[in-house]
Structures are given as C-alpha cells and as structure tokens.
C-alpha cells in the first residue's frame, strides 16, 4: 500500500517539477527575447538605402528610453578638402514606450559615417557606414510583391531597390534621392498624395493604369495618359515585367539640371553686407580727430589739455555708434522649379559673420560647398571664421504655381540674374515674386491639372 501510495506521490511530484521547468524555460525565453530586441534602431535612406549627396530620410526608433539622443557624425571631406566634419544631434521625445524620430537630412558624399543612440552615458545602439558603402546613384524603387522580376526592366547601372509602401517618404525632400518609382499593383496601394508628391519632386512614377482593389484613385491619375507633374512625370507601368521600360516622358527639370539650377540660384543671391561706416567718413573723422587733439595739446596749458581731454572723451563716446548694425547678416531667397501647375521650392540662404562664431538657421540646410556644420534641434548651425561666408540650400518643398506667376510667365517674364541665366535652358522664363524666383519652361505638351492634389 505504502509503496503504491509513494508511487502516486512520486508521479505527481514529477508532473509538478515538469510544469515548473516549463514555466522557468518559458520565462527564460521571454526574458531572452526581450533582451535580444534592440533598444534603438536607425534607418538611413528610403528602404534603408542611403544616397550620397541627396536629402535623405533618417528614422530612429527607440524603445523605453525617454530622452534618448541620436548622434550622427560624418566626414564629408575628400582628398583635396581634407576632413570636413558634419553632425546631427536630435533628441527623442521624453516619454516611455516606442518613440520615433523622423528627420530628412542632406546626406553629403561621406568618407565615414558613424551613429549612436545614447541615453545619458549609456549607448543603446550604434553603427556606421564606411566609404565603400557610399553610393550616389539615385534609387529606382519597385513597389511589388516580387520586385526582382522588374530588375531586368531597368538599365544595368540602375540602383533597383524593392520597397514597401510604408518605406515611401511623405515629403518632397525625402524623394530627392529617388529617380523612379514603379508600382505594379501587387502590394498595398500608396496614397495618391504620396505619388503626386514624388512626381512633383522629380521622380518618374509608373503606376498600374487599371489597378486592383484600392488602386482606383491612383488609376484616376492616369485617365489622360502619361503626363508631366511638377519636375517629374506620371505614366502607366508596362504590363509585362522584365522588358525594358519605355523612354521617360521629357521632364521639365531633369535631375542633373535641377542640381545645377539650385546651385546657380544660391550663387545668384546677393552677398550679405555688413553696412560698415563708409570709408570717407572714417577718413574725415580720423583726420579731424588727430588734428584737433594735436592742435589743442599744442596750445598747451590747462585749457589746451582740458579741451584735448574733452575731444578724446567725446570720440570715445561716439565710437559705439560705428558698430555695424548686423554683425551676422543673412540674405534670404528661394527658387521654384515649376512645371505643369506644381513647383519644387528650394529655400536659399547666403550668410556671413564679422566676428568668429556660429550662425544658426531655422530648419535643415545643406551647404553649396562641403563645409563643417551640424544639424541640431531642427536648426542648422554653421561655424564661420571672422569674415566668413557660406551659401546654403534648404529642403525642397512642394508648392502650387500661383495664377499671377503663370500669367507673367506666359509673357516675357522678369530679367534673370546672369549667374542664374547661364545655368538655365534658353526656353526658361523667370518670374520674381518677393525674394523667390519662379522658373518655368515652355515646352509644348500636355499640362496637368493636379495643382490641387497634394494639398
């Protein structure tokens, strides 16, 4: 009896131990999985593909690390320039859970790029890209469940990248490093607004003309066939994957032309001035002062000395009024590359500093020529030596072309600055509104009535 009772107890004890073991193993697995999950991740570029020399989306995802900071340091130098250090400092929201930080930054052609996400002194994640990972070729994005079958459709040197709908940038600047977007209708349909933004920002967009469910709004964009939109185009995707794509419709602002025009527009900005005291005034003032002091001291005695002291005192009091009104002047402007009702607006800045120091511009800007700077808290901080200057261009934004600009452009337009005109095709018309140059081309062809779409 005892033996059989003991046996039951032993079986129960084994079952209980097995249950406990299972719980312990499950808990250990859960803890292990939780620990294995990175606390922070960084994605640079559309679909994780950075394009050197282009405005690039950067996304940091941080888990349970309130107030974590992203530090990205890169060397934009070269053999001739030497080391040119640029950096990004951005702080994640001071809250728990999953926090996301989305930035669109001008990524230069880097020699070395390192990043880390840190919370106080603790590094949550880090990584880097060497010079070999640098690729300046724009992306050919393929939005397909089987993107590989479209690869033969592109030229052999194209940088074909399979992407998901969630990878697509939402702002015009994020599309800067993308040459084409092919959507074959086999995935979740992107927003029409996203597609039109891409086209207006200069991307060649290929869409299914008669798409499956969810593609209706996109198919409507092609009701009138291929069309130019802003700086890019919309056209139907070929029915058969793998065959070479047809020639792209003639874009108003091809990629190479856009870069040159924006740089020329930045160069055409007037040089910032300090408005010094005019030199003749300084000459007259200095000569008068020296003669007055010398003459009064020559008179000698107490009256002469007292008068000279008065002159010196008065001169000392007048000195502060000779200070330049703005020791760090900024010239503002913008250029809009317009076409078919939409335009890509690029803010331009020319800055200068009389004393050595750091000039701060609200928003992200990239220098026309590689120079040390950093992007910090949504602003661009440019260190300049005494008397230093820099020209910068801002992130492209999508704008609708106003009717009055179109009306003026239908005529002769406004006379363009020589620097800008030299970089433009002869059929370009410029219209100056405030500090913004609207540039439109006059090729014959269909125009899109899509100005309302991205709003």
């Amino acid at each position: 009896m005892n033996g059989s009772r003991t046996g039951v107890v032993a079986v129960r004890g084994d079952a209980s131990r097995a249950r406990r073991t299972r719980w312990v193993v499950a808990l250990a697995l859960w803890v292990g999985l939780a620990a294995a999950q990175p606390r922070a991740e960084l994605t640079i570029g559309v679909a994780g593909e950075p394009v050197a020399g282009a405005w690039t989306p950067v996304r940091a995802v941080v888990r349970d690390a309130p107030g974590a900071t992203l530090r990205l340091d890169l060397d934009a130098g070269g053999l001739e320039r030497g080391e040119v250090l640029q950096g990004v400092r951005a702080r994640v929201a001071d809250a728990g859970g999953v926090q996301r930080l989305d930035l669109t930054l001008p990524l230069p052609a880097w020699r070395r790029l390192t990043w880390r996400v840190e919370q106080q002194d603790r590094v949550l994640a880090s990584g880097g890209l060497g010079a070999r990972a640098r690729d300046g070729r724009p992306l050919a994005l393929v939005l397909s469940s089987r993107p590989a079958r479209w690869a033969p459709s592109f030229p052999s040197d194209a940088r074909v990248v399979g992407a998901a709908t969630s990878d697509l940038p939402v702002d015009a600047a994020g599309w800067h490093g993308v040459a084409s977007l092919l959507v074959d209708g086999s995935t979740v349909a992107p927003e029409p607004r996203t597609v039109v933004t891409a086209a207006a920002a200069g991307v060649r967009v290929l869409l299914p003309a008669a798409g499956p469910a969810g593609y209706g709004p996109l198919a409507e964009l092609l009701v009138d066939g291929p069309r130019r939109v802003g700086a890019g185009s919309l056209e139907p995707v070929p029915a058969t994957p793998g065959l070479p794509l047809p020639d792209a419709p003639l874009a108003d602002w091809p990629r190479g032309l856009r870069a040159g025009v924006v740089a020329a527009a930045a160069e055409a900005l007037p040089a910032p001035t300090w408005r010094h005291l005019p030199k003749p005034w300084v000459l007259i003032g200095a000569v008068t002062y020296v003669l007055a002091v010398a003459a009064l001291l020559h008179v000698g005695g107490a009256p002469g000395a007292a008068s000279a002291a008065l002159v010196v005192g008065a001169a000392a009091l007048a000195v502060p009024f000779a200070a330049p009104p703005e020791p760090a002047p900024v010239e503002r402007g913008a250029v809009v590359l317009a076409g078919a009702g939409l335009g890509m607006r690029v803010p331009l800045r020319a800055i200068a500093r009389l004393p050595e120091g750091e000039s701060e511009l609200a928003g992200p800007y990239r220098p026309v020529e590689a120079r040390p700077l950093r992007w910090e808290g949504g602003a661009t901080v440019v260190p300049l030596p005494a008397g230093g200057r820099a020209r910068l261009t801002g992130a492209p934004q999508l704008v609708a072309v106003p009717d009055d600009v179109r009306a003026v452009a239908a005529g002769e337009g406004d006379p363009l600055p020589e620097t800008l005109r030299a970089a433009l095709p002869s059929d370009t018309v410029g219209v100056l509104r405030g500090d913004t140059w609207w540039l439109l081309r006059r090729p014959p062809g269909p125009t899109a009535g899509l100005a309302e779409a991205p709003r």
Binding site: V282, A286, A305, V312
Partner: protein, 198 residues
C-alpha cells in the same frame, strides 16, 4: 610745487605724439574696407601700429642721448601715457567696426605699459653702456638688444612683449611682466623727481 612745475606736468603735443596719432589714423583708414560686402579686419593692423608705435617710441626715447636728465625722463613717460590715451579712440573705432574675437579692454590697456616697459629696458641698456664707457656702441647694441628681446619672447611661448601678438589675447604672464616693467621705471622716475625737489 611751483606754478611753472605744474604747467610742465601738463601734456603737450610733441612730434612723437603727432606721429603716433597720424600713423594710427592712417592704419585705420587704409585697413577700413571700402565696400560693405568686404569683412572689416581693421583692428589688427591698427592695434599693431598703436601698440608697436608706443613700444618703439619708448625704446627710442630710452636709448636717446638726451634721456639722461630726470626731467626729460618724467616728461617722456607722461607723453607716452597721453599718447596711449589719445590714440585709444582710434583703436576702439577699429575694434567696434571689425568685432574681432579679442578683448578691447586688454588691447587698450596694454599699450602704455608696453611703451613704458620698452622705455625702461632701453634706459637700463643705455645706463649700462654709459657705466662701462661703451655708449658709443649704442647704434649697434640697440637693434641687437631689440632682436634679442623679441627672439627670447618668441622662444618663451606666450607673448610677453611682442607688439603684434600682445593685443590678441589677455595673458596673466604678459600682465605680470608689463606690471613689473612699468613699475620699475615709474618708481625710478618718481624717486628722481623727489630728489630733484629736495
């Protein structure tokens, strides 16, 4: 102190003072930018001319054959102080116009002590040569001594007396050197003045 003595203490325009003011003014006008888009970098040359001018003045006055009389020494130190004061607005104008990363107070304050220090060093050299009956060597010894002092200063590291570097940044070592270099000649001049009165 008699009325004549008090009158002699008042500053007077001498050729050196006019020359220093003129040179500082010329440096200011030449270095001032003619166009508003050119950065103003007038302060540096103006400061060098003013500070260097006072140092040169002090040295030449100290090695001058007429520097033996106590009254002459007192007048010379006074003239240098007046010149430093009178040329200060010109340097301040250059400073305000060019906004350099430097200290205006230091630059303005350092000129007179450097002049007096140079005067004291030159005076010491002249006295030593006279004492050893080698005064005839002064034309050779003076530039050699200047070169030696400047070379030594360059070797030491932080500028103590170099007129083209001294105004750039405040330095405790330079301040101590100039304070000592000013205190000794001024004390000697005052002691001589007391002896004269006695």
């Amino acid at each position: 102190v008699s009325r004549a003595d008090r009158s002699a203490l008042l500053p007077q325009a001498g050729p050196a003072l006019v020359l220093l003011l003129g040179a500082t003014a010329v440096a200011l006008v030449v270095a001032w930018p003619a166009r508003p888009d050119v950065a103003n970098a007038a302060w540096s040359p103006v400061a060098v001319v003013r500070v260097g001018g006072l140092a040169l003045w002090g040295w030449l006055a100290g090695t001058s054959p007429t520097s033996g009389a106590p009254a002459t020494r007192r007048d010379e130190v006074l003239r240098m102080l007046v010149a430093a004061l009178a040329s200060a607005p010109l340097e301040a104008l250059a400073f305000v116009g060019s906004a350099p990363a430097a200290s205006l107070a230091w630059s303005l304050a350092v000129a007179a002590p450097l002049g007096v220090t140079a005067y004291g060093l030159a005076w010491a050299l002249a006295a030593a040569l006279r004492r050893t009956r080698l005064a005839w060597l002064m034309p050779l010894a003076s530039p050699l001594a200047v070169a030696g002092v400047l070379l030594l200063d360059l070797r030491i590291g932080p500028p103590l007396l170099l007129p083209w570097l001294l105004p750039e940044a405040p330095s405790l070592a330079a301040a101590a050197t100039l304070a000592l270099g000013t205190a000794i000649p001024v004390w000697l001049v005052l002691r001589e003045a007391r002896r004269d009165r006695a």
